[in-house]
């Protein structure tokens, strides 16, 4: 019976989250699920550096839409398939089972999960930070909690300040900081570099620490010209950090 393969109905989001069930031997389906999961692991460059601070107890519901959730539950899945290929497919996805209405599944999927992550995300730490950009006539404010990754933040800042930048804008700058050799080019150029003041009052280069940690510790953002960043003594620290990382 090929019924299990039908995914044309609504709720593709939900099929991403299903880990399947042992069932009637519709063996083709769970590979599709797993493949998607694996490829997500491989191509997740944005979240690759995100701190796996999620408490991975078996109590953690796996229906969170947060990609890091999927990331964390994959190790469990991994042991099922490659570990013992001789075993029959552990959990085959069965359409319409268990009988939970799509409406309900979707509603649960978009909510945050219980436990530490949930509480952290709803924590009262101030998420609005001022953003200044050298040369821009006024400051902006962003709510860091609105974003899930550096990429999202940089895209948003880029849009905010696009009218003021000459040449390269933030998103390129933020992407390149991860790459050490480009970091030096960046700092030497007149391109803009995002920096932030952390809880200790130190000025840091954006992008060194995992996203969550950044959100917790960032008090304000400043987008400054690369040359000025070196002048402020930022570069040596940034260089030292990136050296430590490699």
């Amino acid at each position: 019976m090929e019924v299990g393969l039908k995914k044309k109905n609504m709720g593709f989001e939900e099929t991403e989250l299903r880990l399947g069930l042992p069932g009637n031997g519709a063996s083709g389906t769970e590979e599709v699920l797993r493949k998607r999961g694996f490829s997500e692991t491989q191509t997740q460059d944005d979240t690759a550096s995100v701190d796996l601070m999620l408490n991975l107890s078996s109590k953690e519901p796996t229906t969170g839409a947060d990609p890091t959730d999927k990331h964390n539950t994959l190790p469990k899945e991994k042991t099922l398939l490659p570990a013992d290929p001789a075993k029959p497919p552990a959990k085959a996805q069965v359409v319409g089972w268990p009988p939970v209405r799509s409406f309900r599944k979707n509603m649960l999927a978009v909510q945050k999960s219980v436990g530490e992550e949930g509480e952290k995300n709803s924590s009262p730490n101030a998420s609005f930070v001022k953003v200044s950009m050298d040369g821009a006539p006024y400051l902006r404010k962003v709510d860091l909690k609105m974003y899930k990754s550096y990429r999202e933040l940089s895209d948003s800042l880029g849009k905010m300040f696009s009218s003021f930048t000459i040449g390269n804008c933030e998103s390129q700058g933020m992407k390149d900081f991860m790459n050490e050799s480009k970091l030096m080019d960046l700092l030497n150029s007149s391109d803009y570099v995002p920096t932030y003041e952390d809880k200790d009052g130190d000025w840091m280069l954006v992008g060194d620490v995992p996203w969550e940690m950044f959100v917790e510790s960032c008090k304000r953002l400043r987008i400054m010209k690369g040359k000025e960043a070196i002048g402020l003594g930022l570069a040596p620290r940034a260089m030292a950090k990136s050296k430590n990382r490699s």
Partner: protein, 587 residues
């Protein structure tokens, strides 16, 4: 001697007046069968019509028989459409009904639809055609956008109820549809927009609430921020039923105290729902009103068991609780101890596709509620383990159960203590619960359970079966034994041609039968269709025309329903009605 004739010579008006006190459609149907004159009188004064299957009868037929209808309810797709078993485009279009009624029932006041497809055009037609339109309830419907809602808001000056329960709405207008209610509009009694994805204009909503003094039910959508809720509530302190929006925001003392005060200010509030993204520190804001609550829907609320316990232990008057399995057995023990009036419990799975249990919820929770809550009638329970012993206990504790739906998440799970099938446990349920109307089975089940159901399930009206049974005998027991069966839905069971053909006549006494991934052959479907002209035997098969395969090949899905309207004309390419003339199908 003169013969005394016993003709009742009441004038028609008197009979009509008497009939007006009888509203239930079953009683009305019974009245109409007494004699021809009663049939005639009754049909002219019937105001409410319920059509359980929109394809069982045509709009023209309804209009012809009941020319003075003010309220209509229609149901479209089969129940299993809720679980994606009915392919997109199957049908359930309400358009022909609206078009026909627009002409025939200018005084129509109420339209209630379930699992139907309704377009903006139809909504506009409703808005323009029915001058006294009052109630629109769209449950699990789809096909429309907020533009259609804007038309309703703009034109229906006497609208009392707009309920979009769990429908799929294309949310285009960023909340502006709500602003189409004119300033002169004040008659709103019930508004349920909980399914809408986008924000509604809060200022428009506030003004609306402020000018509608009869508002009793307000179900907001997730996009309504928590810190705006007190303001909204202050406009309608007479609310009886409230669905919150998102239930978290930055933890700020003044927001909390505003919220608490706002809840307390609603002295009639009895029902709460919503609670998306709950921040537990905000839960105590509802504590002051817990003692008045009769209905609590926390089925979207991700709340730990300990917080649920604190909440529930303060709700002694609870009649209905819908909750996620985060409540765990511990929470259900509290429920059993605190809520002695409970009538209905639904426990939904937080992680239906997880490989392992993520919560400590077992059969023990349900057993405890069955012991502690003497008025419990209706149960929907998702769990991962069950035993015959537990089911026996539940059955003996609660013979007053009328609805029992148990879903053991893993198909074919046996009794976890004995590894036996759960036949005996479910058998106990049907044996003891003599008024059981609705039953859903799960777990490892043989033909035996169907024997019990056929023997004892005399009042059973709806039965849902999945991954159960061994042979044709199972289906035969049910079809031959359940005298009051109206709806039967079966998936992934080894039931074939024989019991269907042997019980063909039975199928005309039921509303519908659904069978998918079973063993019914195309040949049997054809024979059934030929044999039973007042049944539509629909074969749903996405592999292509069943003619292209041998007659003994099983069909993917089968939907059989009684009808006096003949085969429907709006079937998509993957549905075939077993009739002689297949050219009736319109692509």
């Amino acid at each position: 001697m003169q013969k005394m004739s016993y003709t009742f010579s009441f004038p028609e008006e008197v009979l009509e007046h008497v009939f007006s006190f009888i509203e239930g459609e079953r009683d009305r149907n019974a009245i109409s069968l007494v004699c021809k004159s009663w049939y005639e009188i009754e049909r002219w004064c019937r105001r409410k019509v319920f059509v359980g299957n929109c394809y069982a009868v045509s709009p023209v037929m309804v209009i012809k028989r009941f020319p003075e209808v003010r309220s209509i309810a229609l149901k479209g797709k089969p129940h299993f459409a809720d679980f994606n078993l009915v392919p997109e485009g199957w049908g359930g279009y309400v358009c022909p009904w609206i078009a026909a009624m627009a002409c025939a029932f200018p005084w129509l006041e109420e339209i209630r639809l379930k699992r139907m497809v309704i377009t903006d055009d139809s909504l506009e037609l409703i808005a323009k055609s029915f001058k006294n339109f009052k109630v629109l309830v769209l449950t699990s419907c789809e096909g429309f956008t907020t533009d259609g809602l804007a038309a309703i808001a703009a034109n229906c000056r006497n609208l009392k109820e707009l309920d979009l329960q769990e429908s799929e709405v294309d949310d285009l207008s960023s909340g502006h549809w709500l602003s189409h209610f004119p300033d002169s509009y004040t008659s709103l009694v019930s508004l349920n927009i909980s399914c809408l994805g986008n924000e509604v204009s809060l200022s428009a909503l506030e003004r609306l609430l402020g000018r509608c003094p009869n508002l009793q039910t307000l179900r907001l959508n997730r996009a309504v921020p928590l810190d705006r809720l007190p303001n909204l509530l202050s406009r309608c302190p007479q609310l009886v039923e409230l669905g919150t929006g998102v239930y978290s925001t930055e933890m700020r003392p003044e927001v909390f105290s505003n919220l608490e005060a706002a809840f307390s200010g609603c002295k009639q509030l009895k029902s709460l729902s919503g609670f998306w993204d709950v921040l537990p520190s905000y839960l105590p804001a509802v504590y002051p009103i817990c003692s008045r609550l009769t209905s609590l829907n926390l089925s979207y609320a991700i709340i730990q068991s300990s917080d649920l316990i604190k909440l529930i232990s303060q709700c002694p008057n609870l009649l209905r609780l819908w909750v996620l399995d985060y409540i765990e057995d511990a929470g259900l023990y509290t429920l059993a101890a605190s809520c002695k009036d409970l009538r209905e419990l639904r426990v939904f799975p937080s992680d239906p596709f997880g490989l392992e249990p993520n919560v400590a919820l077992t059969e023990k929770g349900l057993v405890s509620v069955s012991e502690g809550c003497p008025k419990l009638q209706s149960v929907l329970y998702f769990c991962r383990q069950m035993s015959n012993a537990a089911l026996h206990t539940i059955a003996r504790n609660r013979p007053n159960l009328t609805r029992f739906r148990l879903c053991i998440i893993e198909p074919r799970t046996p009794d976890y203590l004995t590894l036996d099938p759960l036949d005996s446990g479910f058998g106990a349920i049907v044996e003891h619960c003599k008024d059981l109307q609705r039953l859903s089975l799960s777990g490892l089940l043989t033909d035996r359970v169907f024997e019990y159901i056929g023997t004892y399930g005399k009042k059973l009206e709806m039965l849902s079966v999945a991954f159960a049974g061994d042979s044709d005998l199972g289906l035969h027991h049910v079809l031959s034994g359940c005298d009051n069966l109206r709806k039967l839905e079966i998936r992934d069971c080894p039931f074939g041609d024989k019991p269907l053909l042997a019980n063909a006549a039975k199928l005309e006494t039921m509303r519908s039968l659904w069978m998918s991934t079973c063993s019914v052959s195309y040949g049997a479907c054809k024979r059934l269709g030929q044999k039973m002209p007042r049944l539509n035997v629909e074969v749903i098969d996405e592999r292509g025309p069943p003619d292209s395969r041998p007659d003994n090949c099983p069909v993917e899905k089968l939907y059989i329903y009684r009808t006096i309207a003949g085969p429907r004309l709006d079937m998509p390419g993957f549905v075939w009605t077993m009739e002689d003339d297949s050219s009736l199908r319109i692509e």
